[in-house]
């Protein structure tokens, strides 16, 4: 009996200590649920690398924030909206997850937005690209970090039109992302006086692009815009080369190309390709230092999605540190108030429509002769100021902005 009393007393003291240490942290733990494509088409551009990136952000805090431990859970969403929604709901309902992270593939991000809205949780979107995420489809707690289709259009689209590519034909992945990318680039092309001659929607994912390429060739457009990503872009570029499309005088514009795609294609095939990037490892000492550490863990240099995941998770944790709370509304308010300052973004601003505005970069793939070795692939041609890339807040059609 005496022993029992002692035990009970010490247990309650411990409990008080624990709760006292993190008074404002719900359940005594800050838990982040990361959903990504672990094994499919987007697993190289996002995938396991985003988990490493999120872990690197957590390590910077020594694994605890505001006295509470930080826990990261992850799952493979297989690029399927239903799987993502179920997993997110389960995490939010029964496993005390406070924020969802990464969310590559637009359909996934939109499904998780629905859950985040119902549960009032934060969604830190890095991988999904569609601009509707901070326009018609926005939610108050959905934060779109790395890039969007509008920025890609402004970067690559205007650069190609400026070089005389004034008639376009699109090969578009047949889902929300492809459509958003085609729309955003079309706007840029038409605003610059160019014309869109047509488009073909291809199944996602598709393995053979020869048929679509020949249709694009028959259109007579000067530019064939690839409104797709990952493995689809790689296969389309290969088909263009094989069928002599480029030699016959048409230009291929990859509208969403990642460093990992360039790595997979090889410089021989990819050289000269223009691409809009949110991040490149070899920009300054900070990016090089972080990317070296990333490389040591993964054997690959980071893509923009991976670097963006790091930045979004880090900023989220910064806000919890500053407020001492993991309450959704408090944290989002703080995240908006603080500028985003890290190796990914300088002076980044998180707007009320959920858009994180930061500089983007227009890059060109180096020729094999210019490259000093693996991963030395890009030359930054132009810095696109955040406001130009993402447009002013007044342009956003988000109802809750």
């Amino acid at each position: 009996m005496k022993l029992f009393k002692k035990l009970a007393a010490s247990a309650s003291v411990l409990a008080m200590l624990a709760s006292g240490a993190s008074a404002e942290i719900s359940d005594g733990v800050v838990k982040i649920g990361l959903l990504t494509d672990m094994s499919g088409t987007y697993s190289d551009v996002a995938g396991p690398g985003t988990i490493t990136a999120a872990e690197m952000a957590i390590e910077e805090f020594g694994g605890t924030v505001a006295g509470a431990p930080i826990e990261l859970v992850s799952a493979d969403h297989q690029n399927k909206a239903d799987i993502s929604a179920n997993k997110a709901r389960q995490w939010g309902d029964t496993e005390q997850v406070d924020a969802f992270a990464e969310l590559v593939t637009t359909s996934v991000a939109m499904a998780v937005f629905e859950v985040a809205k119902q549960q009032n949780k934060i969604a830190l979107v890095s991988g999904a690209a569609s601009s509707p995420l901070t326009n018609d489809a926005c939610i108050p707690t959905g934060l779109h970090w790395t890039y969007n289709t509008r920025a890609l259009g402004v970067g690559t689209g205007s650069a190609v039109v400026a070089e005389g590519g004034d008639s376009w034909f699109f090969l578009t992945a047949d889902y929300a992302f492809g459509e958003a990318l085609q729309n955003d680039v079309s706007k840029v092309v038409e605003a610059a006086g160019g014309k869109v001659l047509g488009s073909v929607k291809h199944p996602f994912p598709a393995s053979d692009f020869s048929s679509f390429m020949l249709q694009a060739q028959a259109s007579g457009a000067k530019v064939i815009g690839l409104a797709n990503a990952g493995g689809d872009t790689i296969n389309a570029i290969k088909a263009a080369k094989e069928f002599g499309i480029v030699e016959a005088g048409q230009k291929i514009a990859g509208l969403l190309v990642f460093l990992s795609d360039v790595h997979a294609l090889g410089l021989d095939t990819a050289q000269g390709l223009q691409m809009t990037v949110s991040f490149y490892w070899d920009m300054n000492d900070e990016t090089r230092e972080w990317s070296r550490r990333f490389f040591e863990k993964t054997g690959k240099m980071p893509t923009g999605i991976q670097a963006g995941t790091y930045s979004s998770v880090r900023h989220y944790l910064k806000a919890i540190e500053a407020t001492g709370s993991d309450d959704t509304d408090t944290v989002v308010a703080k995240m908006r108030e603080m500028p985003v300052e890290d190796m990914f973004a300088h002076g980044g601003v998180l707007r009320t429509d959920g858009r994180m505005v930061h500089d983007m970069y227009l890059a060109e793939v180096k020729s094999p002769a210019d490259s000093s070795g693996p991963w030395d692939y890009l030359k930054i041609v132009r810095t696109i100021p955040g406001e130009e890339a993402f447009g002013p807040l007044s342009e956003s059609t988000c109802p809750t902005k």
Binding site: S39, G40, T41, Y42, S43, D44, G47, D174, V200, K201, H202, P203, P205, A206, S207, D208, S210, S211, F212, L214, Q215, A218, G230, G231, I234, N235, K238, E242, F243, G244, A248, S260, D261, H263, A264, L265, G266, T269, K300
Partner: protein
């Protein structure tokens, strides 16, 4: 006339027909392997896509580590992967003979997931480029389209393999044993034929066909761990349409489905990944045993 009405010049249509034929040649070789395996082992080989992928990776490995180029790989990659198939049959599939089809399906599906998962882990999902062999680089302008020499070669090589397989099964003594094994394995065994050996070899041959298609595909797509999983479902539909276990059915259906898919890519591109399954549903309703299958 019709093409003008639909707004497509005849040249575009010819090009698409030819591309359809090229893709159909892949479907034919892959579904042929499946048909051989199903005919003899009664196994729905869901690992076929993974073994096709292994064929492409074997090509890459042979070139990178042993200096054996594309032409050598055309022989050795099917042999290596075929040997792996023989091992799989001996160690795993054999144990499932005589019980429900479902177990074979589950086992091979599991194998496919394990093999593909391992390769994604090792090589990533973007794949690795494999160069087109020098002798087949470039192409010829046919007037209505630019035909890369390599794609032309794919059709020739695939059809040659299909014809050879048909000859082997329909016109040789071994083929007669194999067909007899399909009809009545017990009776065949009673005549003193080593039926277990026959089934092992048949599985090895079906797998080697998959690997052969993998070698052909390597220079076209990336050598990619997921290249098989993107294709396998379509190939299954082709086999079902042709009639499970029918060799002629697999080849003819493979080519014609390639063409139907190619035309759909022009008229209604969004439906191009679905059209084969629509055909499958219609065929199953009208002829449940498939176009070339014998009713059970």
């Amino acid at each position: 006339m019709l093409t003008d009405l639909l707004g497509f010049p005849p040249q575009v249509l010819f090009g698409q027909l030819l591309l359809g034929l090229i893709n159909g040649a892949f479907y034919a070789v892959l579904s042929l392997g499946l048909a051989v395996i199903f005919g003899l082992l009664n196994i729905v080989n869901f690992a076929h896509g993974a073994l096709y992928m292994l064929g492409a990776f074997a090509t890459l490995g042979l070139t990178q580590y042993l200096g054996i180029g594309y032409w050598g790989a055309l022989i050795f990659a099917p042999l290596i992967v075929g040997a792996i198939g023989v091992g799989l049959e001996r160690v795993l599939l054999r144990r499932l003979s005589g019980i429900d089809h479902l177990y074979g399906l589950l086992l091979t599906f599991g194998l496919a997931l394990v093999i593909e998962g391992t390769f994604v882990k090792l090589f990533g999902a973007s794949g690795i480029p494999y160069p087109t062999p020098e002798a087949l680089q470039g192409g010829v302008n046919l007037g209505f389209m630019f035909l890369p020499f390599y794609r032309g070669w794919v059709v020739v090589a695939s059809l040659a393999v299909c014809v050879a397989t048909w000859y082997l099964f329909e016109r040789t003594k071994i083929g007669a044993y194999l067909r007899a094994g399909t009809e009545n394995p017990r009776l065949l065994q009673a005549f003193g034929v080593n039926v277990p050996l026959l089934t092992t070899l048949a599985y090895g041959y079906g797998v080697a066909l998959a690997a052969f298609a993998g070698v052909l595909a390597a220079p076209i797509t990336q050598v990619n761990p997921l290249m098989g999983s993107n294709l396998i479902i379509v190939v299954f539909a082709v086999v079902v349409i042709g009639g499970m276990g029918s060799i002629m059915g697999a080849v003819v259906t493979g080519l014609s489905m390639g063409i139907i898919e190619g035309l759909t890519k022009v008229f209604w591109p969004e439906a191009s990944s679905t059209v084969i399954f629509v055909v499958m549903a219609i065929v199953l309703v009208l002829r449940p045993a498939g176009l070339f299958g014998k009713p059970a």
